[in-house]
């Protein structure tokens, strides 16, 4: 019976090979070859040049800043939600998840309306006779877009760890004379680390690979690594170079995931790669 049922997985294994394994092998093959054939490492060498190094640096920098903002703004929010009584708590979680149900593109587009030159914020400023600001098409707008889109990914994992936390530990610490700050530093924060790490992973990964936010809110002049890949495949048609960047991005992210997975809550059955 057991051995018989195994064959049920075979159609999907075939599917996996055709649509996951073969495409990745193709991308790897393209990344290692010239446009007209022949094996080379030229595409990878090209990526190390200063021009593209700057793109990589900018992507990492913006993703890092956004992740820090999400953590600093999101952690207190997670604590507030976890501290609320049960009915209010569920409502707050629902309100936090609700915007995520709206299309990602529309959420990003919404900020164009607010930040634009003739946008809502500048009109409000103008109403008070204040000078208009250049809010759109700069690094700040890109970071804002990232924080706005990804902050729920930070708040929710931290919240779920905090909500499950054993409250008697906090009481015990207080009984032993610890003040609020010590309790946070020595008990709450260390225990919430698995949630923090999940949150950081879930914000940083999409932030580093997005090409929509820099395109719409950065106006396209702020090239990030995602935009570079998109450009190679849809405008320049240099698939070989685009493939090389994709492979670098993939390897980088899978390694980061593997490292993060080591720090995740061992009690949780997360069962990721490795």
């Amino acid at each position: 019976m057991r051995t018989n049922q195994k064959i049920l997985a075979y159609p999907y294994i075939v599917w996996l090979i055709i649509f996951i394994v073969v495409p990745l092998i193709l991308v790897l093959y393209f990344s290692l070859s010239f446009r007209d054939g022949g094996i080379t490492l030229e595409n990878y060498r090209r990526f190390i040049s200063p021009v593209y190094g700057k793109v990589l640096y900018r992507s990492l920098k913006l993703a890092f800043i956004s992740t820090v903002f999400c953590l600093v703004l999101g952690y207190p929010m997670a604590m507030i939600i976890a501290g609320a009584d049960i009915t209010k708590r569920n409502l707050m979680v629902l309100l936090f998840v609700l915007p995520m149900w709206m299309n990602f593109l529309l959420r990003t587009y919404a900020w164009m309306t607010l930040l634009g030159k003739n946008g809502v914020i500048n009109n409000i400023l103008g109403y008070f006779n204040l000078p208009a600001l250049n809010l759109l098409y700069n690094n700040g707008a890109v970071i804002l877009g990232m924080v706005y889109n990804f902050i729920p990914f930070m708040v929710l994992p931290i919240y779920s760890v905090l909500a499950k936390m054993d409250k008697t530990l906090i009481e015990a610490a207080k009984d032993l004379g610890a003040n609020e700050i010590t309790v946070f530093r020595k008990i709450i924060f260390p225990l919430s680390l698995p949630g923090v790490i999940t949150g950081i992973t879930m914000v940083f990964m999409p932030a580093v690979s997005t090409f929509v936010i820099p395109k719409l809110l950065g106006g396209g002049q702020f090239m990030l690594i995602g935009n570079l890949v998109e450009q190679q495949f849809t405008y320049v048609y240099d698939w070989n170079f685009g493939s090389a960047i994709s492979i670098i991005m993939m390897v980088f992210i899978l390694i980061a995931m593997a490292i993060m997975a080591k720090y995740e809550d061992p009690m949780e059955e997360s069962g990721g790669l490795w």
């Binding site: 018989n4 075979y10 996996l16 609700l98 915007p99 919404a110 309306t113």
Partner: protein, 256 residues
Amino acid sequence: MVIRSVKKIYTFLMFLFLYAPIITLMIFSFNESRSRGKWGGLTLRWYKELFHDGVIKNAFYYTIVIAIFSAVISTIIGTIAAVGIHNMSFLGKKVVLNINYLPVLNPEIVTGVSLMTLFIFFKLELGFLSMLLAHITFCIPYVVLAVLPKLRQLNKHLAEAAMDLGATPSYAFRKVILPEIMPGIVTGALMAFTLSIDDFVISFFTAGRGVSNLSITVYSMARRGINPRINALSTLMFSAILILLLIINKRTVDQE
């Protein structure tokens, strides 16, 4: 007391940050004036234009059709695959699950680009079929991951008992195993449906030839600047989600 009001203000500011853009879009969808700063009076003009916009209607149609097809197909393949994977040997299971995780963990852009490469390499014209195949591909892993835990919780002896009592394997599956793992299947199907509806990056690389979904349409419209029709579209989509959630919420409350 001070801490409590600080908490309240912080919560308020956070929700203002989350909802201000959405509410602004909704308000300006009724604005007669094309520019966003100025209020030109109440109008339903953008909604009328929206319903006569062939491109948006087309995109809406493809979004829904692809979401339904990919949810149904990936749920069937994923559920069957989960049963098979559950019964595989330790090593085989590990290999298959790791490959299954790839589309979940990989940056979407890498999945999109690699599928596009596959379709073009094998001369499959980018269009409806390529987009559907791509959606099924990134949906199945979520179905597998939703169904597998339910199979692990399943009492192994139930199916054996059913077969001892004379049930054929397929009858035992339908009458014993399937009802037990149903919650996982429903979760997987819902995830597949929402992921497909919301997808942009993978669709962007695998669609083509006049086929596009709402995300792609919004992207190309937004790149050309502000368009009040998008505001109207957002309002409708957000209201639809809100109503859906309220219905689900009411049903779960009623069941309790």
